[in-house]
Symmetry: C2
Subunit: 212 residues, 2 copies
């Protein structure tokens, strides 16, 4: 009897293993994996920042668009936000970053050198708010790592045009094999471009170099 029971248990276990191998998605979908496409319809984003606002905005409410989902991922940060973005002119995304900053969450931003000074760039506003570290580098990345475990990456620039006009994609995932390389890449870019490590010439030095 004991031999039969062991054999039976092993067969059940083997069948379970086989089922998992053949239909892995029916058993467990594993870590977060989400894809969203743009352009997206215009919807109220105010509720994400001030859910109890007495003056609700006139745009459609309770609509989950690609953009509200992206904002939701950013606002979900509880311990850190590392952001590498080519162009950053979108006001809602800037408010999301500033909201995290108000909550005291450490923020590190790397943007493209040439795009920091374009009209509407939000990098200045974020810098003026203080405490958010930001560096510049020549790059075309568009990715964010939330809390050191959630990756948001894709073709999307953080601009108004990209979100409401362009055909773009974003994916959000917590798959360690995909997230860890981006954490390493951010760290490497940050070490090289950290503004605190850079020697910025003083006015006296600038004047001296002009005189020479």
């Amino acid at each position: 009897f004991s031999l039969y029971s062991v054999a039976l248990t092993l067969i059940v276990e083997w069948l379970g293993w086989l089922f998992c191998r053949l239909w892995p998605r029916k058993i467990s979908r594993g870590p977060l994996k989400e894809v969203f496409f743009f352009p997206t319809e215009v919807a109220c984003t105010e509720r994400l920042f001030t859910p109890d606002s007495p003056f609700p905005c006139p745009l459609p409410h309770n609509v989950n668009t690609s953009f509200t989902r992206l904002l939701g991922h950013i606002l979900s940060a509880s311990s850190s936000l590392d952001l590498c973005v080519f162009a950053f002119t979108n006001l809602d995304l800037s408010w999301a970053v500033l909201a995290l900053h108000t909550r005291g969450i450490p923020i590190r931003i790397l943007t493209d050198m040439d795009y920091t000074l374009i009209t509407g760039s939000q990098i200045g506003a974020i810098r003026r708010a203080g405490r958010c570290d930001s560096g510049t580098v020549h790059m075309h990345h568009m990715f964010a790592v939330v809390d050191g475990r959630r990756l948001i990456t894709g073709s999307l620039n953080w601009t108004l045009t990209a979100i409401h006009s362009n055909k773009e994609n974003i994916l959000a995932t917590e798959e360690p094999d995909l997230v860890l390389p981006f954490i390493t890449e951010f760290q490497m870019l940050w070490v090289v471009n950290d503004p605190a490590r850079k020697h910025l010439p003083s006015i006296a030095e600038k004047t001296a170099s002009l005189v020479q």
Copy 2:
């Protein structure tokens, strides 16, 4: 004894389950998940096209760079290639697409309308080779689906500058939750922009509209 053996088997099974939950990556890494960053060092790509060439190129051989890995993914196609790319001027990637075409693999390409006619665009060369279907659309996507199951997506444009100068990223995955939405997106864009469905005005129609 039989009761003990059943209890023991169940405990072993539970421990196995617990181990899988706590350290999932040590057990199984699941479907392909790969990330590569650019810029990448220059290496010989000729070996990927003609491995038995009697005249090896002077560049470093047997080096696996981000670019050779990207080319390898494209060349691995055995049944289809669906490509959505903003700018396409890279010669090696064009050769890879043409190599698949020579093997008789169905290829569908969607590129950005404004970038098709820029200097060095490879879309014309691919179109002239015939049989590759290509459409144009206003878009900023950069993704490919190989054999309807492998997704390649990221910030990388298919240009020489992007590969050897820009800081860019690409990820390749066979995770169904990530691949399937891109297949649907491509299908949707293709249906809307398929050149075969578009009414292209004939010379007579063009002349008539000019005369009016």
